[in-house]
Symmetry: C2
């Protein structure tokens, strides 16, 4: 059906081995051969069959990136840098987007089987899934943006923000501004991210001798605008005299802002809001969002550096925390 290197070999007068060598830019080919063969390749618009190629190749030279959630703006904003960085280092970059319901480790195992990458970067991860199946993976991996410390695998490093510290900083900021009736919008607590952030919140309250009643002040929400909106409505219903909110993601904060406004309240005059992540969008909002900015450039950079190091020396996993910054925007004010 399709044209193969065999056809190219016949047409060019060379053997398949030589054609393969040319196609892979091997040095041990004469210029005449290279020229003649490439001519035929172009003439027939030949394309290599990657299935055959990867079937035969023992070890591939590629880095895989597995992203959970094509709608995640934080991840989206990191992809270009990651991809460029990997390619600049001479590796091929295999990108896979999975949705929330798919099993990222299962997928990774299959990728290892099919493409034998040298390492994997995970953007977004479900810890339970990692606990259950990650032992099937034996190449170096890095969790980008989540800590993998508690998972404790020798080949699973991580580069992330200190969630507890960062959340604490957000709530501290609100408390310093004089707020006392503070609500928290966050993820469901089965994951370590929301749990850590909530832990940080609680610490901020207790260190300031303030009560924190989770049932009253905490409202779980998915990390999307619509859920942030609804969660904020519930919080406003439960705590009518609330004056500030910390949302565990900017996107949720955005939904919350609109909910506040739709109740006829103003930001920051009536309610102060702090987000989390520091996605680009927050700087363009007319009421710039005060947010905990994860240093995504540095996280991306270090993730790759660490992955490369592990590929090189196969040393034990490291778990690095990258400093965050609280960016004071216009969505908060002293009470």
């Amino acid at each position: 059906m399709a044209i193969t290197i065999k056809d190219i070999a016949r047409e060019s007068g060379y053997a398949v081995g030589t054609v393969s060598r040319v196609l892979n830019n091997r040095p041990d080919v004469s210029d005449t051969a290279r020229e003649k063969i490439m001519e035929v390749v172009n003439k027939y618009n030949f394309r290599i069959n990657n299935n055959a190629k990867h079937l035969k190749q023992r070890a591939g030279t590629a880095i895989a990136i597995i992203v959970k959630g094509s709608n995640n703006m934080l991840f989206a904003s990191m992809m270009e840098q990651l991809q460029n960085d990997i390619e600049d280092r001479g590796y091929e970059c295999l990108i896979y987007y999975l949705n929330e319901t798919e099993n990222e480790v299962e997928h990774a195992i299959q990728v290892c089987n099919d493409r034998k990458p040298m390492g994997i970067l995970f953007l977004g991860s479900n810890h339970q899934v990692f606990q259950q199946q990650f032992s099937n993976i034996d190449i170096p991996c890095v969790l980008v943006t989540n800590s993998g410390e508690s998972l404790n695998y020798p080949n699973l490093s991580s580069v992330s923000t200190d969630d507890a510290e960062a959340a604490k900083a957000a709530v501290d900021y609100l408390i310093k501004l004089g707020h006392r009736k503070i609500g928290v919008l966050g993820g469901h607590l089965d994951g370590p991210v929301a749990a850590s952030r909530l832990k940080g919140c609680k610490l901020a309250f207790s260190e300031n001798n303030l009560e924190f009643d989770s049932d009253l002040q905490y409202e779980p929400s998915m990390f999307v605008m619509s859920h942030g909106y609804k969660a904020m409505e519930k919080l406003l219903d439960r705590i009518p005299d609330i004056t500030a909110v910390f949302a565990m993601s900017d996107v949720m904060a955005l939904g919350a802002m609109r909910a506040v406004r739709d109740r006829g309240l103003r930001i920051p005059e009536d309610i102060s809001i702090v987000g989390f992540d520091g996605i680009e969008l927050t700087e363009y909002l007319i009421t710039r969002l005060t947010t905990v900015r994860q240093n995504r450039e540095e996280i991306a950079k270090r993730s790759i550096e660490i992955l490369m190091e592990k590929i090189r020396d196969n040393s034990n996993a490291v778990h690095e925390l990258i400093p965050f910054r609280l960016i004071a925007g216009e969505s908060t004010k002293p009470l």
Copy 2:
């Protein structure tokens, strides 16, 4: 190295043929065989080698989606629906994200070579690239969101918004509100999208007996916030008494809004802004953005329906326009 169906065959006491049949859910296998083989498969955590599989398979049963730009919020918001819809119809869904600099048709040709999909959906496309190379693709394809009419390939359909009409509606709206000093922020005009939208703008002006001086009133910009911001600054410099702006994408409009605010002007009191696309975000902004909403749900739905139809009967390409709606937000007001 890795475990193969041969190993499974040996362990289970069956032949490789039977193992293959079980793995592919073929009906012509006894329950005992299926059971016994699956037991061994699970015991050894066997995973099929897709390279070998696809190398051998003549025709794959999959639909490919090629997306240009992982940062494009309009595309991101359509992916889930597309993916679910395709999988609900029993097809496998192959997703590839490319960045702006990569050649989507080149990539598609390679995908056809390797995975032999039944059809391809393109989200985002460069017309020049299609002109040059699309003739190498002979399976049904659909351009999702861009018109492919002028490309005139028998196997390239498209489902899109009438760009000229929609842009005209946006500018008409501003004119009806009494605005006369109107600026336009748009893409570089080598692509058909920006060109069509600009054409629509011009028509709106001329039908209302208004002048439109491109050099003065049109400012090109990439479809990202930062460029929208800068382009708006230029427009404000050139036309100090400007009262309204139409931006050819919501993301650009967002940048423009912030630029306006940073000049100490207010939206919509001093400047009205209309966007394009109608991404979810626009509904959550505190100053809800007036925008031309592309009916992305319907575009996604029809794109797949058309692709399926073409796969079935291989009939000639169709180019469908899906009605848009102008959503009046809070970013515009009568002059």
